[in-house]
């Protein structure tokens, strides 16, 4: 997927003026925010579970190499082949190699953010493999030729009417608008693909080191079909997804669906270990696991490491006032919302995503709801800092901040300037005591007034009082 994060401001404007999107976002917010709150109540002590989950993720990150090696050894012992990829180009090469070796003509895909991250579909199609998205949301997007706008609900920006039009056009059946009928129609069109595909591609919600298993979490059942029916299964995921034991996976499974969709558990959780055994009635004969770095290893040990705890639940975006206003497409890459505003600059390059760390009010709601306690607002602040140090901010902004710095470091000058400013603003405000315009800040004043300063600065008032006995 192409990185279009630099266009944030323009895209955000468009989103704000798109009434259909605004309605969809309101609906989503209500559902996800309430759903999460209620589902967490079913846990006896949700914060204890969150603390334990955080500790699990940190245990892994402190010795990620050792856990990955353990995972690899266990997976290999069960007949899986483990591949390592530095970047998207390597993933594409590995995957097309696998496809060629096994004579694959058609692949069915279950949802995978990493495959979006590296633009996998295009690479496979270039190698002559037909790729069919099978998650209902992703299937709709494949027909519409659009990227996902949310990591859990990829198509939340589309209305039922738009989907009905899309199906009528592509399926050549009478147009229907009923949700259940649309879902059945997609099922009927996708079932033959599951049955005829040579390869199933999935992501991994977790890799369990203890057993060498890939764990996937779905509701529709497409993940189960794609990993059971075709003779080749390829799982693609980031290197940070490993967890030590089944107990650890169980803890994370108490949080992931609750934080994501407000479910206590998703319909299907599948723990897939190795290839079809002698005597097994079904399952793939070949199982490949591709572990992708793509910039993740560089974050270990840095200030930004906590983002690697992320379990992709989407709670941070569901609760973010900026995401709630502009939706996922404005962020311009696979990962939207607060988590995306950190991941996109780190994985795709800071200079390709300069607006994102600034597209936050730093209100801290994201960090409050994150099931693995990632200090998202702190990380955004850190990225703003790095941008400043690397000279990636606009000249005027840098210049003003320099001036400000020069000013606050000189107390006498600061007092003088502040005194003047207070005096001037009070005069400008006049008898009403409110400012309703200032040169250069028309936008800010369009919807609000600024109360004028109360005559003198606080420091001046303080000095005057102290001067008295």
């Amino acid at each position: 997927m192409e990185v279009k994060a630099v266009e944030f401001v323009r895209k955000a404007h468009e989103a704000l003026h798109n009434p259909r999107l605004q309605e969809a976002l309101r609906r989503t917010e209500a559902k996800f925010v309430q759903g999460r709150r209620e589902a967490l109540r079913h846990l006896e002590d949700p914060d204890a579970v969150r603390r334990h989950a955080t500790a699990i993720r940190d245990t892994v990150l402190r010795q990620l190499d050792a856990w990955l090696i353990h995972f690899e050894r266990q997976a290999q012992a069960r007949g899986a082949t483990v591949h390592w990829a530095e970047d998207g180009r390597e993933v594409a090469r590995i995957l097309t190699d696998i496809a060629r070796r096994h004579g694959v003509r058609k692949a069915v895909k279950s949802k995978s953010m990493v495959s979006e991250e590296v633009g996998l579909n295009a690479a496979l199609e270039a190698a002559g493999v037909q790729v069919v998205e099978t998650d209902l949301g992703e299937y709709i997007l494949q027909l519409a030729e659009e990227p996902p706008s949310h990591i859990v609900a990829p198509v939340l920006h589309k209305t039922r009417d738009e989907i009905a039009d899309l199906f009528a056009r592509h399926h050549g059946r009478p147009r229907k608008t009923d949700t259940a009928a649309l879902t059945r129609e997609a099922r009927e069109f996708l079932r033959p693909h599951f049955l005829s595909a040579d390869m199933g591609i999935s992501g991994a919600n977790f890799l369990v080191a203890e057993t060498g298993s890939v764990l996937i979490v779905t509701n529709e059942g497409n993940g189960r079909l794609a990993t059971t029916l075709p003779r080749v299964h390829v799982a693609i995921t980031g290197i940070e997804k490993v967890v030590p034991t089944l107990e650890d996976a169980a803890t994370l499974l108490r949080l992931l669906p609750r934080s994501a969709t407000g479910q206590d558990i998703t319909n299907y959780v599948s723990l897939l270990t190795g290839t079809k055994q002698a005597g097994d009635a079904d399952g793939p004969e070949h199982f490949h696991i591709i572990l992708l770095d793509n910039g993740r290893s560089r974050l270990l040990g840095s200030e930004l490491e906590p983002i690697l705890r992320c379990i992709r639940c989407g709670a941070c975006m569901n609760h973010c006032p900026v995401y709630q206003s502009v939706g996922g497409h404005a962020y311009g890459w696979v990962y939207p919302g607060p988590m995306g505003s950190i991941l996109t600059p780190l994985l795709a390059g800071l200079e390709r995503a300069t607006p994102l760390p600034n597209a936050s009010t730093l209100c801290g709601r994201c960090a409050e709801v994150c099931p693995v306690n990632i200090p998202l607002a702190d990380l955004l602040r850190e990225l703003r800092h790095v941008q400043q140090v690397r000279g990636l901010r606009p000249r005027l902004e840098t210049l003003s901040l320099r001036l400000w710095r020069a000013l606050v470091l000189r107390p006498r000058l600061y007092h003088a300037v502040m005194g003047m400013a207070a005096w001037l603003l009070t005069r400008l405000a006049g008898a009403r005591g409110r400012l309703c315009r200032l040169p250069g800040a028309a936008g800010w004043f369009a919807h609000r007034d600024l109360p004028a300063p109360a005559g003198e600065t606080f420091l001046a008032a303080w000095a005057r009082r102290r001067g008295k006995p």
Binding site: R27, T28, H42, E44, V49, I56, T59, R62, Q63, L64, L68, H70, W84, E90, T134, L136, G137, I140, A153, P154, I163, A180, T183, R184, R187, R191, E210, N219, E220, G221, N222, R224, T228, I239, P244, T245, L246, E247, D248, R254, I265, N267, Y268, V269, L271, T273, G279, A281, D282, G283, L291, S297, L300, G301, E303, D378, R381, E382, H385, V389
Partner: protein, 234 residues
């Protein structure tokens, strides 16, 4: 919190790269990635220790009446639940359910149910993995989890995964002795009983569903539209 400026790598340890390739050879992606990870490692505890002594996280407490707790949770997931006293009563309950739902009296079942008297209740049963054209799939379970009303089904010789997946209706036979409080308990049981770890461990929590269209939950996406659970036991 505001922190002083620093370079991104300043806090990293300078451990030697243990997995470097011999001189003259280019390193593989695996060696390069693991080399960077090793350089950032901050803990040298052998990982096997944690694997051998897994740590249980905080969970919901044990329940005093597993069968009713399981039934309540399973119904919340839109599964239906019936209770019979022993295995010989299963065919009659299946027949009742199929009639009530207006479904054909035809099913593909796991071989372990071949001994039951299907013909006596007029059900045509075959004992092979279910295909896409079978209307009903009948399976057992490895265990069932009270905490969430979840079925744990493992793949294997007589327990094909497709039977709980391809038909539009899934009927699961759950002996009450196989009810366990939490997911951790189910995994522990599997560790104890499985000779080799099964290729697929599937946790099934109700009929398949999607909420992709306008966040409206619709039952029956790619998996079954109906899950009927028959609890067997006194």
């Amino acid at each position: 919190m505001v922190r002083p400026p620093r370079s991104a790598g300043a806090r990293r340890r300078n451990l030697p790269c243990r997995l470097g390739a011999p001189p003259g050879q280019t390193m593989s992606a695996r060696e390069r990635i693991l080399g960077r990870l090793a350089a950032a490692r901050r803990d040298d505890t052998p990982v096997a220790a944690r694997v051998e002594n897994p740590v249980r996280g905080p969970a919901t407490p044990h329940c005093s009446d597993p069968a009713s707790r399981f039934t309540e949770r399973a119904r919340q997931l839109a599964s239906t639940v019936a209770r019979v006293a022993d295995f010989s009563a299963v065919p009659a309950e299946v027949a009742r359910y199929l009639d009530a739902e207006g479904l054909p009296r035809r099913l593909a079942a796991w071989p372990e149910f071949a001994k039951l008297a299907w013909q006596a209740v007029g059900i045509e049963a075959v004992f092979r993995p279910a295909g896409a054209d079978d209307p009903v799939g009948l399976t057992g379970v490895f265990a069932a989890i009270c905490e969430t009303g979840t079925l744990m089904v493992t793949s294997g010789e007589g327990t094909p995964a497709t039977t709980s997946l391809l038909p539009e209706t899934h009927i699961a036979v759950v002996p009450v002795q196989r009810l366990v409080p939490t997911l951790e308990d189910a995994f522990a049981l599997l560790r104890r009983e499985a000779a080799i770890w099964p290729r697929a461990v599937n946790l099934i929590s109700g009929p398949s569903r999607t909420a992709d269209i306008e966040q409206t939950v619709t039952l029956g996406a790619h998996g079954p539209y109906r899950v009927h659970i028959i609890l067997v036991g006194p």
